[in-house]
């Protein structure tokens, strides 16, 4: 029987990686991801996990090592954050178009300057287009479950893509939560050994990562794009199987009290927990407000999102990322493009909040809902609003 224990989310993720029987873990520590890889190195050193832990000299080396190990057919895990993830950037585009599966947990953190070790989504939004499948966890249990799910999806022979599970730095990574860690037997049942479509094997030599001349490059990128678009069905299937084995259900878009809603908040990750409290309070006050949580970010589940919006006419979209000089944050831009000129589509208002560890409190969600309602009547001058910024 699996048991529910009070455990730090980072440690629980490491245990999940152990349960998934990861074979190679190249990693470089960085706050707030540190506890994940520290605990994994302990697990390997103690003989609890039969894996190679590679203490690399940088994140660039970590991701390069991941590519090599996964190309040779190993089940690979790594983790990073913020500046470390940015240092990986050059390599991140490589395993995705090369269809080399691996799993990375990103403990989301702000980017310098000014130096901030605290949570927002700017680090991962820089890497939006690396072509990896990406999910966002709302709490510790989800972080564990999505990590196990990620191996199942990434290694599916029809998917064969790398996958990122985003967890909010500190807000999730350093918090002790009651978490049900699955049984080894169940994880083994859910996650069979990794059998890659192709691997680097001297007995049957192939070349991975050759030059793509102008006559080939576009087709290679198109094949990658179609692979990630087609992955959605396998992501959903893996969630369905997850529910059958572990009893917890996941969907690409979660809805919370959306019935007859006039305004829907749209968020990702751990702020959705506070947003639910805000929705409850607003509902108690007779306001018809609901919440949409984006769990699957890439491939973007457009069909599921439209269905979840239903007939609601106003969306208040929260971006935990401020792209200077852009028309709005990446999530806002995504949704505006998706609904552009579709008859009956909702009015979409973009809010930037929760940068660099700034708390987004219940009253801030109420403020966003109030503003969105006002903007629906009188169009604002700005294309997005920064919430909770001091003017003086």
């Amino acid at each position: 029987m699996s048991k529910r224990v009070g455990i730090e989310v980072s440690i629980a993720i490491s245990e999940a990686v152990g349960l998934a029987r990861a074979e190679v873990i190249p990693a470089y520590p960085i706050t707030p991801q540190t506890h994940i890889v520290e605990h994994l190195s302990e697990m390997v050193a103690n003989g609890q996990l039969d894996a190679e832990f590679v203490p690399v000299e940088s994140e660039h080396a970590a991701m390069s090592c991941c590519c090599g190990a996964a190309a040779a057919g190993a089940r690979v895990f790594t983790s990073s954050s913020s500046q470390g993830l940015s240092l990986m950037s050059e390599v991140l585009y490589i395993p995705s178009t090369m269809r080399i599966p691996m799993v990375m947990v990103v403990a989301n953190r702000a980017l310098s300057a000014p130096i901030s070790i605290w949570n927002d989504h700017q680090d991962i939004m820089v890497q939006r287009d690396i072509g990896w499948i990406q999910t966002f966890a709302e709490n510790g249990q989800e972080a564990v479950d999505l990590t196990i799910h990620a191996f199942k999806v990434a290694e599916n022979r029809n998917v064969s893509l790398p996958m990122i599970v985003n967890i909010d730095g500190f807000t999730l990574s350093h918090v002790i939560e009651p978490i049900e860690l699955p049984d080894q037997e169940d994880v083994d049942k859910y996650l069979p050994p990794f059998k890659p479509r192709y691997k680097l094997d001297p007995r049957r030599p192939i070349t991975m990562g050759p030059v793509g001349i102008p006559e080939v490059y576009t087709e290679a990128k198109m094949a990658h794009d179609m692979a990630i678009k087609n992955s959605k069905r396998y992501i959903l299937k893996a969630w369905k199987e997850f529910e059958e084995v572990f009893g917890r259900k996941y969907e690409p878009i979660d809805t919370y009290r959306t019935e007859d809603a006039e305004v829907l908040l749209v968020g990702m990750g751990s702020i959705c927990e506070t947003a639910m409290t805000a929705v409850d309070q607003m509902r108690d006050n007779g306001q018809k407000v609901g919440l949409l949580k984006i769990r699957l970010w890439r491939p973007f589940p457009a069909q599921e999102f439209r269905k979840a919006v239903g007939k609601t006419k106003i969306l208040a979209v929260i971006d935990r990322c401020l792209p200077p000089g852009a028309v709005c944050g990446p999530v806002g831009a995504e949704l505006r493009s998706m609904f552009y000129k579709i008859p009956g589509s909702p009015k979409i208002f973009s809010f930037v909040a929760g940068l660099g560890g700034r708390d987004v409190t219940v009253s801030r969600f109420e403020e966003m809902v109030d503003k969105a309602r006002a903007f629906a009547k009188k169009r604002p001058r700005e294309l997005y609003q920064v919430i909770g910024v001091r003017e003086k």
């Binding site: 178009t97 090369m98 030599p205 192939i206 070349t207 990562g209 001349i213 290679a220």
Partner: protein, 97 residues
């Protein structure tokens, strides 16, 4: 450089753009962007094979008389053969036209 057999659509391109057949660069005209070519003076050539040894793309082949000749499908005109030839028998001449 293109070989028409390799120019396929995105649905048939190899998985991950891997090369599944080792050494398939021989199927491509990899030397078609050359700006100069090696020309061997058979009067000076002693058939020592230094050009054949040093050529980084293995373009030199020995003919029936024992002379070494670069295959212009693959030669990129780097000039290493001319530099290494102990008898200065190889001259790099500009490609024309």
């Amino acid at each position: 450089m293109a070989n028409s057999d390799a120019i396929v659509g995105w649905k048939t391109i190899t998985f991950g753009c891997h090369i599944l057949e080792p050494g398939n660069s021989a199927n491509f005209r990899t030397g078609d962007w050359r700006s100069q070519r090696p020309v061997t003076d058979k009067e000076k050539c002693i058939k020592c094979g230094m050009c054949w040894i040093f050529c980084p793309d293995m373009t030199y082949k020995q003919d029936e008389e024992g002379y070494f000749e670069a295959d212009m499908e693959y030669c990129k005109g780097c000039g290493i053969c001319a530099h290494e030839c102990p008898k200065d028998a190889i001259t790099m001449v500009p490609e024309e036209g």
